[in-house]
Every structure is written in C-alpha cells, then in structure tokens.
C-alpha cells in the first residue's frame, strides 16, 4: 500500500462503490431516507440531456466511421457506453481454454446507459431452481419476498407491458405498450402456427408520463444512446441525479476503488481508491460499505481486500467469492422475408428495442436440457449505419428484383441502387437469451502476475459452457427455423451446427454476468445473506448481480434494482435501531 493516503475526514453513513443499477438504487433509497452517502464511480460524469454528451438523434454522417465501433466504444460511435470489451490499461486475463468476455462502462450510471431496457421480473420458479431440477442452488428468498420491491421499482421507474397472468413471468404494473411494427405483427401471426408464445414486450421506457422530472418517449429507437428526455431508465438520470438533488449524496467521479478497509474488529471502515486524474490514493470512511461495482468488479474488490484477519479476501470465509460466475446464453438467426420487399416507406422507429417477445413457453421436464430462454425479435426499416448494404452479392442473385426478374448476383450501377431500395427493411432477426446453470468451476479470481495501470491486481477468468447450455443453443436454432418458417421467411446463411456450439455466444457476451458473491442461508456456501449483507462483515453489502444465486431466462436488471431497494430498506431499519 502506498505510504501516503489522503483520507477524507468525513464519516459518511454509507459509502457506495459503483453508480449502475444497484449502486444508483441504493443511493436513491438511502439519501431519500436521510442518510449521508458518498458514491465512488470509476468513470466520468454523464448526463444524456447535456449537449456535451448527446449522441441521440445525430445523423449517420455525423460519425466519420458512420456509427461503427471504435476502441473507445465497442457498440459504436453513437452508443452511450463509454468503454467496452477492452479498456486501455485495464486488462483481464484467461485461464487455459477460457474465453470470457467482460464489458465495462466507465461512466456515471455504468451499463444502464446503453442497455436494452428489457425489464422482466424473475418468476417464482426462478428462485427455487435447485428444488425443481436439482442443479445449482436455491435463492434464500422467494418471489413473495421480493414482489413488493418489484412493485415499488415499477412505480418509481416505469415499465410498459401487458398483463398476461403467466405462471413464471409475473406481471408488473404496466404503462401502455407500443403497437407492434410490421415485422412484429408477422412474427405474432406466424407464431400462432408454431406455438411459440409471443406477447407485448416489457421495457422500462415511458410511453406515458409518470412524473414531472422525466419526459415521454418520442419514439426514435435510440435508447442505447441515452435519452435527453430521460424517458428510459438509466441509473444516472433516474436514480443518481435525484439522489444528488437531496443534497445528501457526494458523488466522486474518476475514483477507481481499490479495496474495502477494515478495522481490528473486522468491521468495514471505508474504501480506498485511486483518483484517476491525479493518480493519488484516497480513502473515504463510512459506517456501512455497499459494493455495486458489477458482479466481477465487486468480487475483485473483495478478493483484493486481504488482511491478516481476512486472508482469502473479505467476506470470503466460504471461499465462494468469484465462483459461480454465470452469464446468459445467446444465439441468433436472421431471415429474409420475400413478402416484405419493396416496402412502402414510413417511420417505424418505435421505442429502442423490441415491441413483442417470446417468454419461455416450454417445460424443461420434457426436454434434454434444464432452464429456458426467451426470444427477442428485430428488423424493419432502420437507420443506416456502418455495414448497411454489405453482402448484396449474397442476396440479389437469389431473389427477383423490383422488376420481378432474376439477374446475376452482385453487379453495380443503377440496378444495384434499385436493389438496395428493393430489399431495404425485408429482414427479421431473432435472438435467444437463456439461463445457464451456475457452476463452481466457472469463476474469476485474482491474477497473481498482473496489475492494471492503477496498480490494482486484475481478474483472471475461467469459464466453459457445459452440455446444458450447448443443447439449449441447439434448441434455439431449431426453434428459430420453425419461427422463420411460420412467418414465411427464408433463413440467411447456414444453420449453425455443432462445430460452433450452435452459434452459442461466448460467456460474458450477453453482459448478464452474475453470481460471484452469491447470497444464501448457509455461510459455508454463500457470501451474503438474503439481505445482500455479508455473512462475515455485518456492515458490508453487495447489491449488484454478484448477489444472485442463479440467473433466469430473463434479464437481470429489474431484479438487481429490487434487491438493492430491499437491501437499502434493511440498512435504513438497522441504522435507525443503531445496528451498525
């Protein structure tokens, strides 16, 4: 440890590391409850309503690379995420044979700035999977424990959808869902034949006004760019800024947290961090420390917080910290739809994402893999960006042109322009996103040989898919072809086969990684109790995806928000009774 640490003399009630879904919600709830909170964020300040930061509604030609990805933004020039799969000077490493992808956004609000806004509650079965199929671990809470918090999250943030009464896809309190686009109507119609349940999607985008601080969606399809009307959920706009308004939150940007500090009694006393601008070491003191730096960053911090008392790292007497890392599965397919060529032009941008989706509709007891997946649909007359028009030679020789005649593939000139117009918007794609089974041998740990540019030891990943996930991906591909057939499409390219694990994404690529600091009733097999509180260090909490005992066939954000809100409730009660 450096010889000189600058300590802020303030004793905060709570120090929070991270400003994404978990950290933002904790800051919002705790400041509203009157606590003095200090938040450390490793990236810069960000406000999608400030012209300095706005990428929304920029034109394709405003980007010299026409919106393609760059080394500074993996998801392209217009995407809100500052960061991506690799950050300069902040490496991560892999164990032999592992290929885990880790996406990091270094900015206020973290990855909630660019995410898909798919806001699904976990269902009753999702908390008790081990009891159903014997795999993984049950959560220490049930749906009934978290339901009131889901209700509160719905009302605070806003989510659209439809009440379906499905047994394992509980309804939220919904705003009006947007009408499906043409390709989505075709999917709904086609899926009447396939039996793949297809319903209005559930996204945290304001189709109706919910308060005076946020605007209504104006249908530009660009939630991933951040919304200047604050009409979609991002932690920065919806949680952190209102928390700042209370005057109870001190936000420190560009603060790269190093470790949780503890005293001789084994209590957390604060957090040390590197100020990225001055490269000086600082610390802040808090009666309670909350980690919300993302599943892997929080695990990294705990494992790096070693002391003579905590030789395995903090909150790790069980040895589970870093283990049971699991991401959602993913596989995709695209189809050409002959009935959609030569379309009439109109603005069908809609909201930033799907208007319909297919929640898991089958029973795993009758299948050769455990755990389900949902299907997201995409397509339509979208905003051209880098890659638009690529590969015409694979399309225009197969299908008649606007004159109804066949011609050789490829070509050039006025006929090529006519082909671009003719085939525009005639594709439908789909993406399966499924639940993987958490395993002890999929983990992240501290790399004993490598530090980042701040001198902080980095993570090394070990992650391999099992047959469960591979068979699930195979099922996705089979289903995709049925769905495509249902709406009268023609699959593009070859069907992904066993040689590619059926197109199964690399672990980490879906950016739903969870489970590294899991909760449980038994301190020997879990790091946190059901309140996201460390078994070992009573004034230490982890409120990001790290706390999950298992993923679901759903996106994790809504559950991170509800768990963080629940933990904040518990902390507030404990503080009032002098619990810390």
């Amino acid at each position: 440890m450096p010889f000189q640490i600058k300590e802020d003399p303030t004793l905060y009630d709570v120090v929070i590391v991270g400003s994404g879904a978990g950290g933002g919600m904790a800051a919002y709830e705790l400041t509203k409850a009157g606590a003095n909170v200090c938040m450390l964020e490793a990236g810069g300040f960000y406000d999608p309503g400030d012209s300095k930061f706005i990428t929304q509604l920029k034109k394709p030609w405003d980007s010299p690379r026409r919106g393609a990805s760059s080394k500074f933004r993996s998801f392209g020039d217009f995407d809100a995420a500052w960061g991506g799969w690799q950050l300069e000077g902040e490496p991560y490493t892999q164990k032999e044979g592992s290929d885990f992808w880790w996406f990091r956004s270094r900015m206020l609000g973290g990855r909630t700035n660019h995410w898909g806004r798919i806001s699904l509650r976990f269902g009753p079965k999702d908390f008790k999977r081990k009891s159903i199929d014997g795999l993984g671990e049950d959560w220490p809470i049930s749906y009934e424990d978290i339901e009131p918090y889901y209700d509160r999250v719905d009302k605070l943030i806003g989510v659209f959808g439809s009440r379906e009464g499905l047994p394992n896809d509980p309804d939220s309190i919904y705003l009006r869902p947007p009408k499906p686009r043409l390709h989505e109507l075709k999917v709904m119609e086609g899926n009447k034949k396939t039996g793949v349940l297809t319903i209005p999607s559930r996204l945290s985008i304001l189709t109706e006004s919910i308060n005076d601080e946020r605007g209504q969606c104006f249908y530009c399809n660009q939630c991933n760019r951040g919304c200047q009307a604050y009409a979609d959920f991002s932690s920065s706009s919806v949680l952190v800024k209102p928390a700042l308004k209370t005057g109870k939150l001190k936000l420190i940007n560009d603060a790269m947290a190093r470790e949780v500090l503890t005293d001789d009694n084994g209590k957390a006393t604060g957090v040390s961090y590197v100020d990225k601008i001055s490269k000086q070491e600082y610390s802040v003191r808090g009666k309670v420390v909350i980690l919300a730096a993302s599943a892997c960053e929080s695990a990294r911090m705990l494992l790096n917080s070693k002391s003579s008392r905590f030789q395995n790292g903090l909150s790790n007497s069980s040895g589970v910290v870093g283990k049971y890392l699991h991401d959602s599965t993913g596989a995709d397919r695209m189809a050409f739809v002959p009935s959609m060529v030569g379309r009439k032009r109109y603005n069908e941008d809609g909201v930033g994402g799907l208007h319909v989706y297919s929640p898991w509709w089958l029973d795993n007891a009758k299948l050769d893999f455990p755990r389900g997946y949902h299907i997201e649909y995409w397509g339509g007359m979208s905003n051209p960006s880098y890659g638009f028009g690529f590969g015409m030679e694979k399309l225009n020789g197969k299908y008649p042109g606007s004159d109804g005649k066949m011609k050789p593939a490829g070509g050039y000139g006025a006929a090529l322009k006519e082909d671009h117009r003719h085939f525009y918007g005639s594709y439908i794609g789909m993406s399966g996103r499924g639940e993987s089974v958490a395993r002890e041998d999929n983990y992240c740990e501290i790399d004993s040989n490598t530090v980042d540019k701040w001198g902080i030891p980095v993570l090394s990943f070990n992650y391999k898919w099992s047959d469960y996930e591979i068979k699930q991906a195979k099922h996705m591909q089979d289903t995709f072809e049925e769905v495509i057939d249902g709406f009268g499409g023609i699959p593009v390219g070859d069907k992904p086969g066993a040689d590619t694990n059926y197109g199964l994404t690399k672990p980490g690529q879906i950016i739903h990684e969870v489970g590294t600091v899991r909760m449980g009733n038994d301190p020997a097999t879990s790091a946190l109790n059901s309140n996201c509180q460390s078994h070992d260090v009573k004034n230490l909490f982890v409120v990001d995806g790290g706390a999950f005992a298992s993923q679901a066939d759903k996106n994790p954000t809504w559950t991170i928000l509800a768990l963080s809100m629940r933990a904040a409730d518990y902390i507030t009660k404990q503080m009032k009774s002098g619990g810390f």
Partner: protein, 227 residues
C-alpha cells in the same frame, strides 16, 4: 441545456409531439455543482479536456489524428472515385457516390479499420495490373470508360466470373460494400433509401394500407391489452 434549446435540438418546436411539460426539466439539472467533483474526461496524453458534441476528448483526439494522416495516394484516390461512381452512379432518384463523399469515407475507414488497407491497396494494384495487361499498358483510370466497364464486368458478378479473376471479385465485393455503406449512410443516401426516422414523433402503429396489403391487423395484439 435549457428547455427551449433542447426543444430546438430535438425539433419538438416544429413537430409538436407531446412531451410532459416539465419533463425535460431544468430542475433535474444538478444544482449543486460542487457535489460533482469534476466534469471532465482525461485524454490519453494526460491533458484535461472536456467532452464535446457527444464525444469524449480522447475520441475527438483520435478521430482528428486519423484525419491528419493520408493513406491513399492521389492515383489511388482517383481510382477509388471512378470505381465508386461506377458502383453507385447518379440516377433519377439521387446523386452519385462521389456526390455523397464516398472516397473520403473510404480514406477514413481504412485508417480506422486497418484490416481493410492491404485488400484495398492490393486490390487497386490488381485492377491496374489487369488493365495494363488487357488495354495496352494503360492503368484503369487511363483507359476508356468502355474498357473500364469491360474489366469491371469480369469481376462484378461472383457467380459468373472466371476462376482466374477470383481475387478481383473479392476486391470488387469489398469495394461494393464500402461504397454502398458510405453512400447509404450519407445525407444523400439516407434520403434515397427512404429512411424516415431519427426524429421525434409518435408511433401509433403500421399505416392501415400497409396492414391491409400484408393481411395483418392489431386485433390479436389488442386482446393482450384487455387482460
């Protein structure tokens, strides 16, 4: 940003889409600036500079550094321009590739995506070499338009091209891709393709005539709302 500027910025002043009155509110602006320790991004060179126009300082600096370099020489740029206008010529709907700035886009993109550099430079050399072989020692842009098209026809149709032109086909595919993408992401091209979005509006579903043409309706969808 002040509300009236924001309205101007997203065009609501003219479109008149209903957005909750106080929604885009100044009062959500953080009034207590000192709480936010700093509002700057550090560049890789260690200089403190601010983000602007939706870009971080390091992005602005990087893009500028690419623009300050020149990859293609004059002859290569001239060849790219001729090829690009063969691929996307002006027609009754819109202008040509060069009208939309495709050569400059290609010059930038090969610096940004260096894996395009050898295929592009080598492909241009291949084209000139083939042109000299066939047309009395003249490079592609030095020969007649008739000869140019004769050569292009040999490499523009992958399924009909002779096997000995396979490298030329590959190059022409890349050139077709980059020209098409450069054109259709330009102002001229977006107008040509008829993309009508990227502006504030209200989505109220597919136009009735389109529903009718495709034989679909909102009847089933509406059932979901009444549950």
């Amino acid at each position: 940003m002040k509300r009236r500027d924001l309205l101007k910025n997203i065009g609501l002043g003219t479109v008149g889409v209903a957005i909750s009155g106080n929604a885009i509110a100044n009062d959500l602006r953080v009034p207590n600036v000192p709480l936010i320790r700093r509002n700057i991004i550090i560049g890789d060179d260690g200089e403190f500079t601010g983000p602007a126009n939706g870009k971080q300082a390091k992005e602005l600096a990087y893009d500028q550094s690419l623009m300050d370099q020149q990859f293609f020489d004059e002859h290569e740029m001239a060849t790219i321009a001729v090829l690009a206008d063969i691929i996307i010529p002006a027609d009754s709907t819109s202008g040509s590739a060069t009208d939309s700035g495709v050569p400059d886009f290609i010059e930038f993109i090969v610096k940004d995506m260096p894996y395009h550099q050898v295929p592009m430079r080598g492909g241009l050399m291949w084209l000139d070499s083939e042109s000299k072989k066939q047309f009395g020692g003249k490079r592609f842009i030095e020969t007649t338009m008739g000869n140019r098209l004769k050569l292009v026809d040999m490499i523009a149709y992958p399924e009909q091209a002779k096997p000995e032109y396979s490298q030329g086909v590959k190059f022409f595919n890349l050139m077709r891709d980059l020209t098409s993408t450069g054109f259709y992401t330009s102002e001229i091209g977006v107008k040509d393709i008829g993309y009508m979005g990227n502006q504030p509006n209200f989505w109220d579903g597919v136009p009735q005539d389109v529903l009718d043409k495709h034989g679909v309706s909102y009847a089933d969808w509406e059932k979901h709302l009444t549950k």
